[in-house]
Amino acid sequence: MSNRALDTVPARVSATSTLSQSLTMAYRGLLKVRRTPEQLFDVTVQPIIFTLMFTYIFGGAVSGNPQNYLPLVIPGILVQTVITASVVTGVQLREDMDKGVFDRFRSLPIARIAPLAGALIADTVRYLIATLLTFAVGFIMGWRPQGGAFHVVLAGLLVIVCAFALSWIFAFFGVIARTATSVQGISMLILFPLTFLSNAYVPVNTMPKWLQAFVNINPLSHLIAAVRDLANRGLVTSDIAISLAGAVILMLVFAPLAVRMYMRKV
């Protein structure tokens, strides 16, 4: 034990170790989900309730009848549900960080980003569940996406990738905030206008001009449009590129910020 070569201790964690540590942490996240399935409440109940509710409330007014409204609203609800689920990622990260086990993670010779990345990767499972349920409920209600199965899957993946990227913002809040409730508060404050001031539920041309200006630059509008084109028409549009570019930029900004703040807490 004492014969360990003390002078060959490496100073940094290699990229491959970083990846495998992040995946190990993600595995921990999945185990936790399995132990506490009630954490999945939001991603199981919300897609079902929202899809039913919005379709029957707005369907007649916006599209003449609920049936015709489905192609418009399902992508909208999908994006809103999954993005909202990514807020919960930040909240749960905050709660998790207050637990004793994070002390051990900090004292282990592992990449600083691994505990954060692991939590965020594990949560893509939540996004996947939300996506599947939203599509399933829509399908049961009579939505028949014309783009075909392949494009629907592609649309689902696009939303999950973007939600993962966005979750770094909420992870950042999770790291800097003092309590889980404040993370929830700040995040919702940002998210609410973003999701509702978009093309999610009504056609943009029914809105006043000044609002249209905002809605059209809202990145979530681009994501929703991309999903609609993919699922309903099998079209690959520039909205996909815009959404992905936005996702990458967000991640490049907020992932390093979150890790830096996490390290500063040490």
Partner: protein
Amino acid sequence: MQTLTQAARSQTTAAQGAPLAIEAHQLVKLFGRHRAVDGVDLQVRAGTVYGLLGPNGAGKTTTVRMLATLLRPDGGQARIFGYDVVKEAQRVRQLIGVTGQYASVDETLTAMENLMLFGRLLGLSRRDARQTAERLLEQFGLTEAKNRPLRHFSGGMRRRLDLAASLIARPPLIFLDEPTTGLDPRTRAQMWDTIRDLVREGTTVLLTTQYLDEADQLAERIAVIDRGRVIAEGTPDELKSSVGQSSLHLTFQNPADVPRAREIVEAALGAQATPSPEGRRLIAPVSDTSRLPDVLVALKAAGIEISELGVQKPTLDEVFLTLTGHNAEPTTEGEDADVQPRA
């Protein structure tokens, strides 16, 4: 067993000239304006057990957390096997195992999953991680409970799992922050054995404790820490002799004899005797043991019957009280005999 003991002995001898596992110089930590740690110096030789002894809020945990790279010092430096805890934190983390004051294991996972998780994070293959986990669970008597979530673990089981988790990588230095607080006497004795085993294998252990006999039993050197400062440092024996001489403890058949006995004892020993609160005992410092027979003869002559008699060396408790100044009972002079108070 024989060879192990021999190995242990040679370790101890080797430890005299061993390199420093921990070297802290004027460590400071502020919480707001409160100096939780206020210029702590520490030198811990590799292969030894070092005890940090202090009352609640003395700054023990804060000191350990700084040494374990969990807190950034506001002043001073610390090195672990020569590596700076701030500038080379990543290296330091590869050399230490930390068992904090509060359990740092995952409550939602089982014991097995916890150890597997930490093993995998430390770069073990799935198989090695499993084997190591099995071995440690066995060693800490947790095999039967290995698939239960920690929610259902008792405090002692959690504590043991916590220590097991710190041993996965076989680090050469282990921090144990109050490792036996809240444990029953049997589990506490087991923990002591584990700590002794670790040292026998060459591991350096820094432990904090409020149990004075624990430091006495385990540690080769002790730093007494109070209000963020090291107020004394030395071997348990040095600390004890710093408080001064032995004391005579007498218990009497009849409590009514105590006042008279007190006069006799004080006259014979030439020092002040203190009656105990329950009024049946007398305690008096003994500077010259050759006078003890005189005391007994005088008591017998006065017809006072003694039911119990003993001469005790000062306990670490008394050392502690003397040094921290939170005196519970009157103590003798000679506080600075062998150790150098640094306050």
